[in-house]
């Protein structure tokens, strides 16, 4: 083709083709203009949580409060609550008394500002067959009066592993284990690759497949950066043992909602704590112990 007698015409045609192509390209990518709904220059340039100075963090929290006001129409307070020295959180659940009512599931849903459309929660309750700890014989979609005869119930949420497979795989250190043992996510640093979701052996992580929907009057306005603030679209989230409550001496929302007292939560470093008593006196076990994840979430039977 190089011996074309009219090279200028050929070049002109190429330029025309390239311009049409560029126009079609811009047109194809036009929906990207909508991303200003969930990002901004300040959000784009924001540093990793652990690299923010006190002033920078303050500015980020105020910005996030403003964004929540704009998008969800509600005044909220977003705080940064740090772990307390010498505190090691652990959770225990008494399978003998859990009746599978899923009030913990619901409490988590409300407390943590979960998406209403998908009715998201960090807790799943397995209805198990008496005489078997085999999850394959359990089911999460039971829909009848509880407790059903011949069954027991096993709520599963983040096990806050001491050796967490999820934090290991994160390519950008957007998730890590805090000094008190709680595994957290920086929702403004996560790139949404979902490798942690694949790595977790307990189905503890959730992805925001779209921006969460919550009516303004249902929003829990007491929020924290690393836990229950409304998550952005396209990032991973998880149970934080309600750190915005527990780091200030309160109990997790799932525990408070439990009508049977199946849940025990506390600081294992405190020798007088109830959780310490349970771990020392009950025949406890952890889920999938063979994986070496070393959960801080324990199960036990009373009898």
């Amino acid at each position: 083709m190089s011996d074309d007698p009219r090279p200028t015409r050929r070049v002109a045609l190429k330029v025309l083709g390239a311009s049409l192509g560029a126009g079609a390209f811009a047109r194809a990518l036009a929906p990207l203009q909508q991303i200003e709904k969930y990002t901004s220059p300040a959000e784009f340039l924001q540093k990793h949580y652990r690299e923010l100075s006190r002033d920078e963090l303050h500015a980020v929290l105020r910005r996030l409060e403003g964004e929540t006001k704009n998008r969800y129409g509600r005044e909220v307070t977003i705080r940064d609550i740090r772990p307390t020295e010498g505190v090691q959180f652990a959770y225990a659940l008494n399978l003998s008394v859990c009746i599978g009512c899923r009030r913990c599931v619901e409490a988590c849903h409300v407390e943590n500002n979960h998406d209403r459309a998908s009715h998201q929660s960090y807790i799943r309750v397995l209805e198990m067959e008496q005489g078997s700890l085999d999850m394959e014989r359990g089911r999460t979609d039971y829909d009848h009066a509880v407790p059903a005869p011949g069954h027991f119930y096993m709520p599963v949420q983040c096990q806050q592993c001491q050796n967490p497979p999820c934090t290991k795989v994160c390519p950008v250190e957007a998730t890590w284990q805090e000094a008190d043992g709680i595994v957290v996510v920086d929702y403004n640093w996560c790139i949404g690759c979902r490798y942690c979701e694949a790595a977790c052996p307990y189905h503890a992580r959730r992805f925001n497949w779209r921006a969460p929907e919550i009516p303004a009057d249902e929003i829990n306005p007491q929020q924290s950066y690393l836990s229950n603030r409304i998550r952005p679209q396209g990032v991973v989230e998880k149970c934080t043992f309600c750190l915005h409550r527990t780091r200030e001496g309160r109990l997790p929302a799932c525990l408070e909602a439990c009508p049977t007292g199946a849940r025990v939560f506390g600081n294992v470093a405190d020798p007088d704590s109830e959780i310490r008593w349970v771990l020392e006196h009950k025949r406890i076990f952890v889920l999938k112990e063979e994986l070496g994840t070393m959960p801080r979430f324990f199960y036990f039977f009373d009898v």
């Binding site: 190089s2 390209f25 194809a28 929906p31 994160c170 390519p171 690759c193 977790c200």
Partner: protein, 434 residues
């Protein structure tokens, strides 16, 4: 030639070279324009679907918290294999000095480049927040290396991309100038790239094999099996490409190269099937929970059979192709051989794409069974990335082959010298090939 070695000389000739490449890349017959037009259209449809996914969320895909990776990561895995497969031309050409293969080895290197573009594309479209991709850049982001296997993958994929780009770019540039390539400027990179090719697919296998909570992936055979199937798809794609090159360009493809690639395919397809048999035995003879995902894949579980027809088709395609590769009377027919190449390419695409990724999530870690079906948006995006990869491959191949045949040469390049066609190889294994 020494007078043109100076940096100043290259400052003058290199822009001219790039202009010439642009000119050659955009020039062609009506066939070329039609092909590129169709690919561009598909790529644009894919980009549009992706832009909507970014704007409205990944709820547009069929993925869920139960099956959190799908068609994109399946194709990513396959594309990495395709990139690694090109090394099956590089090894005979440079380690065993096979003269025929040496003449066409650039096709394998170009395939590696195009396949890496696809692999990276599939990772990008799988991100929930592509606007934050810069968090992955060492120095300005937070690169979790060496702990996260995904960071290793970023390193090896980009490294392999750069290595092949350098080798190919250097060879084309020297051909354009009519100079003999200086081995010091490309041979060390070729040898590094051979080891590197194995690394890209090993690391990609380790992404999955390292997850203790996913018994279907958590086995040591995954990386070897990835390599075996890569050495099926890479050569299969290249043999098909070489025939198209023979038909549509002035480039002469030595028959020995195709024969050798088919020989490689014979071994690789058998090794791949053997490893599959080893895996099936371990799963089904032992039984129990570790086989739940395999049961779902091959026979269905609790009434869910979404992948069953796919995986049996893949098995039939791969076994059928292996029979053709192993039977001289069958593979002697070009049409039959080509059918087998296409069949095994499709078979491996199913087997190590959806057939590998989806059962990792079904049943889930809490043994829930949530099926997954890709949405139309996902298919559009996937087709778009494939179209982009094929565009890169077509254009790169076009430019490279015109440099090789001497159709694209610098105005002041010395006349074509047959002796310069390829460096001489003492004791060429050429004769041993057949």
């Amino acid at each position: 030639m020494g007078d043109r070695n100076g940096a100043a000389g290259h400052r003058l000739t290199y822009p001219g070279f790039l202009l010439r490449v642009l000119d050659r890349a955009t020039d062609g017959t009506w066939r070329f324009y039609t092909w590129m037009f169709v690919l561009t259209a598909i790529a644009l449809v894919g980009m549009n679907a992706w832009a909507q996914q970014v704007a409205r969320g990944m709820a547009l895909t069929g993925m869920s918290d139960h099956v959190s990776w799908g068609l994109y990561i399946a194709n990513f895995t396959f594309a990495v294999g395709l990139a690694a497969g090109g090394v099956m031309m590089v090894i005979p050409a440079y380690l065993f000095h096979d003269r025929d293969m040496h003449d066409v080895v650039i096709v394998g290197e170009l395939l590696a480049i195009a396949a890496i573009v696809m692999a990276l594309g599939f990772v990008v479209v799988d991100l929930g927040r592509p606007d934050r991709a810069w968090h992955l850049v060492p120095g300005i982001g937070k690169f979790h290396w060496p702990i996260s296997m995904l960071t290793w993958d970023v390193v090896v994929l980009n490294g392999y991309f750069a290595l092949n780009l350098h080798v190919v770019g250097y060879l084309i540039y020297t051909r354009y100038l009519g100079r003999r390539p200086d081995p010091r400027w490309y041979l060390p990179f070729v040898f590094v790239s051979i080891v590197w090719a194995f690394s890209i697919h090993t690391v990609t296998a380790f992404l999955y094999a390292g997850l203790g909570g996913r018994p279907f992936w958590n086995n040591a055979l995954l990386a070897p099996r990835f390599l075996a199937s890569a050495f099926v798809t890479g050569p299969a794609f290249i043999v098909l490409t070489l025939q198209l090159v023979q038909r549509f360009t002035r480039f002469r493809v030595p028959a020995g190269a195709i024969d050798l690639l088919v020989s490689i395919l014979r071994i690789a397809s058998l090794v791949n099937l053997f490893m599959l048999a080893a895996e099936l035995f371990t799963d089904f003879y032992t039984g129990g929970h570790h086989a739940a995902a395999a049961r779902y894949l091959w026979f269905g579980l609790h009434g869910h059979r979404e992948l069953v027809p796919w995986i049996w088709s893949a098995l039939a395609l791969n076994v059928g192709a292996a029979v053709v590769f192993l039977t001289p009377a069958l593979r002697a027919h070009r049409a039959v051989l080509n059918g087998a190449l296409v069949a095994t390419f499709a078979g491996v695409w199913i087997e190590k794409g959806m057939g590998l990724i989806i059962p990792g999530f079904i049943p889930s870690t809490l043994h829930e069974l949530v099926p997954y079906t890709p949405t139309l948006a996902e298919w559009k995006v996937t087709a778009g990335v494939w179209a982009l990869g094929l565009m890169v491959f077509t254009v790169a191949l076009k430019v490279a082959l015109q440099a090789m045949t001497g159709e694209m040469r610098a105005p002041d390049a010395p006349p074509l010298d047959e002796a310069e066609e390829a460096p001489s190889h003492e004791g060429s294994s050429h004769a041993e090939v057949r």
